[in-house]
Symmetry: C2
Subunit: 382 residues, 2 copies
C-alpha cells in the first residue's frame, strides 16, 4: 500500500497561543478575518485576535453559519477580491474554517465558486489560510478538506485541495470554556466517526494506522466517560488534540477510507437541519449492519482492541452495540424520527437527494448503491 503523506501545518497548541498569530502571519499581509455568529465577541477570542493583529492591516467578515452556505460565503469572496487580501484568518469551528477554505479558493478563481464543489474546477491555488480553532470536532484546522452547502437546493458537497491546507492552526483549549455542552458532545461524536471512516474498512495490516486509530477511539471513550470533568484543562486539551488527529490525514494514509456514513448523513443535515455529528450517529450503526460482510473483521478487531470485549459469539454485533451505547450515553440518538409525513416519504426524499447529488455508488468497496442506501436509511429511521 503505497502512499504519500505530508502535513505542513504549524500547530500552536496550548493556553494563550492565539498571540502566536502576531508573528505567524507576514507583517505586511492584508488579513481577512472570517468568523461566525459572534460568540467570539462574548468569550474573549475576538479581543485576543484583535490584540494579535494589532500590527497588521485587517478587515473582517462575520456571519458564517453552521454548515456554511455558498450564498453567504460568496459575499466574503467578493470582499476578498475587492480588498485584495493576502491572508485569510479563520476564527471558529469546522464550519468557519471550511467556509474560509472555500473563500480562499474561490477568490482566486474567475468562474462561479460552486464549480469547486461540483468538481468542475480542481482547486490549484488559494489565498493562504490560518485557523484559530474554537470548537474541536472536524479536524478542518489542519486538513485540506471542506464541506459547503448550497442553501437554494439543500445540497451539501465537499472538496479537497492541498492549496487550502491552513499554514498554521492555533489550538488553545481555553476557547472551549464557554462552549455549550451540546457542541462538546458533537465534537466527541464527530471525531469518533471520522476515525471510524478511516478504520472500519477491510483489515490491511497497517499496524501504525490501526494502532493510532484505536488509541484515538479509546481516548474518546475515556473523555465521554469522564464528561462530568469537561471543565478541566486536561479534558479540554485531550479532546482538542484527539479531534485534530482524528482527521489530519495521518491515520488514513495508505489505507482504504469509507465516508459513506458522511455522504448519507450530509443529506439529513441539508434536509432536516440535523447537527452534522448527530446525523452520523443516526446512519452509522445501520450502515455497519447492512455492510457487515465487509465490516465484520474490523468490527471484531475494534471490539477487542477498543472496547476490551473478549472473544465471543458475535463480536461484530457486540461492537456495533457498544458504539450505539457510546452515542446513547452522550444522549445522542441512533435513529431518526423528526421528519414530516410518513417514514416512506422521508426515506424517499433523502434517497432522491442523494441520487440528485450523484452519490449513486458509495463506500470503500463501492458496495452501497442507491437501493442499499435506501435500506440503510430506512433502517435508521424510526
Amino acid at each position: 500500500m503505497n502512499f504519500t503523506y505530508a502535513n505542513s501545518a504549524q500547530i500552536f497548541f496550548g493556553q494563550g497561543q492565539i498571540a502566536s498569530v502576531a508573528t505567524a502571519i507576514d507583517a505586511d499581509a492584508k488579513v481577512l478575518v472570517i468568523y461566525g455568529g459572534g460568540s467570539i465577541k462574548k468569550n474573549g477570542v475576538y479581543d485576543q485576535v484583535k490584540e494579535a493583529l494589532s500590527g497588521h492591516k485587517w478587515i473582517e467578515f462575520s456571519g458564517v453559519e453552521p454548515n456554511p452556505t455558498v450564498e453567504t460565503l460568496d459575499k466574503a469572496v467578493a470582499l476578498a477580491k475587492s480588498e485584495n487580501v493576502d491572508f485569510i484568518l479563520a476564527v471558529g469551528g469546522g464550519s468557519v474554517i471550511d467556509g474560509s477554505k472555500y473563500v480562499a479558493a474561490a477568490a482566486l478563481y474567475a468562474g462561479e465558486g460552486w464549480d469547486i464543489l461540483e468538481r468542475k474546477y480542481q482547486v490549484e491555488k488559494a489565498i493562504p489560510i490560518g485557523a484559530i480553532l474554537t470548537l474541536p470536532a472536524t479536524g478542518s484546522e489542519t486538513n485540506m478538506g471542506a464541506v459547503v452547502t448550497k442553501s437554494a437546493t439543500q445540497t451539501k458537497l465537499s472538496f479537497l485541495s492541498p492549496a487550502v491546507l491552513p499554514r498554521f492552526a492555533v489550538l488553545d483549549p481555553d476557547v472551549m470554556k464557554t462552549l455549550p455542552e451540546r457542541q462538546l458532545v458533537n465534537g466527541l461524536v464527530d471525531a469518533w466517526v471520522h476515525i471510524c471512516e478511516q478504520y472500519l474498512t477491510s483489515p490491511q495490516g497497517a499496524m501504525v494506522q490501526d494502532g493510532y486509530a484505536e488509541a484515538l477511539l479509546k481516548n474518546l471513550l475515556v473523555l465521554a466517560a469522564d464528561f462530568d470533568n469537561r471543565d478541566n484543562d486536561s479534558w479540554r486539551a485531550n479532546l482538542m488534540w484527539t479531534a485534530n488527529q482524528a482527521l489530519n490525514g495521518l491515520i488514513g494514509s495508505g489505507v482504504s477510507q469509507d465516508w459513506s456514513t458522511h455522504m448519507i448523513g450530509h443529506e439529513l443535515t441539508a434536509m432536516f437541519g440535523v447537527d452534522h455529528a448527530r446525523s452520523l450517529a443516526i446512519i452509522q450503526p445501520s450502515l455497519m449492519r447492512n455492510q457487515i460482510k465487509y465490516k465484520k473483521a474490523k468490527l471484531e478487531q475494534m471490539a477487542v482492541n477498543v472496547f476490551g470485549l473478549s472473544e465471543g459469539e458475535d463480536l461484530s454485533e457486540a461492537c456495533i452495540q457498544a458504539i450505539e451505547a457510546f452515542y446513547n450515553g452522550l444522549d445522542v440518538q441512533t435513529s431518526f424520527a423528526d421528519y414530516e409525513g410518513t417514514k416512506d416519504e422521508a426515506v424517499d426524499a433523502v434517497i432522491a437527494k442523494l441520487q440528485g447529488n450523484g452519490m449513486l455508488v458509495i463506500g470503500e468497496n463501492q458496495s452501497i448503491d442507491i437501493a442499499t442506501s435506501r435500506a440503510i436509511v430506512a433502517q435508521a429511521f424510526a
Copy 2:
C-alpha cells in the same frame, strides 16, 4: 503543556517510491548524493537513484561510516562548498542521514563544522536535504536531529535544527530485503528506546501522545514476536513506518523527554564500538531501576497498556523485566562485559568521558548527576 509542532517533510512510502525523487528535487538543482559503504550498489538502490536523477546534474560522496565522523564528513563539506551544490540527497540509514544533515549545515557555515556539535553555532540555514531511507531505525529521515562523532577524541554529540529537516523522505520497504538480521534487530531496539525516551517520564495525562507511544511499542512487540516473518512485505512496511513515527516529533510534543539512556549509551558506542541500539539496551534497564522514583508511575502504565500485565505487586519492576525480555528475545544483551581491564576502570573511563562531554546532569528531571550516572553504568556492566 503548550507546544508547537510542525513536520513539513513529504513522505513517499511504498514499493518503487525511489522514482519519486525525479520530481521531488527541482530540475535545475545540482545534487550531492551522499551514501555509506557501498551496500546500495549491491542491492539495486544506487541504480534506482541513478535512474531517478537522470534528468539532474549530480555528484556523489561515499564512505560515510556508521556513527559518522566529522573527519569523514568534513570532506563532503569541502566538496559541497567547492561544487556549489543546491541539494543533498542522503541515501542510507540514520548515520548517512545524520551525516548529511551535518554536511548541509556546515557547508553554509564559515567556521569549523564541529562548532555545531559543541553548540557554539546554532544552525539557522542549511542546504536543502532529501532522504532515501535504507535502514529503518532512527527516524532521522523526517526529524531535525543528528548525531556526529569526532573520532580523534571519541566524542559523540548531537544537534537539532529545523533547517536540516529533510524536505522529503522515501520509505520503500523493499530496500530492507538485503539487510542483515542484526540491523533489523537494531532497528527494532532503536525505535523502541526512542519511544521510551519520550514516554517513560512523569505521567502528564497527554492521552494522544501516550496512546500513540503505546501503539508503537505494541507494534514493535508484535514485529519482534513475528521476527521469523521478517521477509514479508507487511512486516517490513510496518517496521519502517513504526520506526519513522517513533521519532518524528509527534509523540514527544508537549511532554517531558528524557534521553539520558542515549547520552550514556553514546559513550559506549564512542569508546567500545557498541552498536547504537545495543548500547541503549545495556543502559536502559539499569537507568530505569536507578530512577524508579521518577519512572514508577509510567512503567506501571506501560506494564498494563503495552505488556498487558495485570495489576500486581510490583508492576514497575515487572515492566522492566518485560523490557529486558524483549531485548533478550532478540538476542540483545542487557549488560556489558566487553571492556578491557577491570570493571571499575571501564566504568571510570565511561564516566570521565561523559563528564568531559559536559553531561554533568541529565534526564528529564535533571536528577542524574555524575555519581548517579556512575551507579547506572556500574549496574549495567558485568
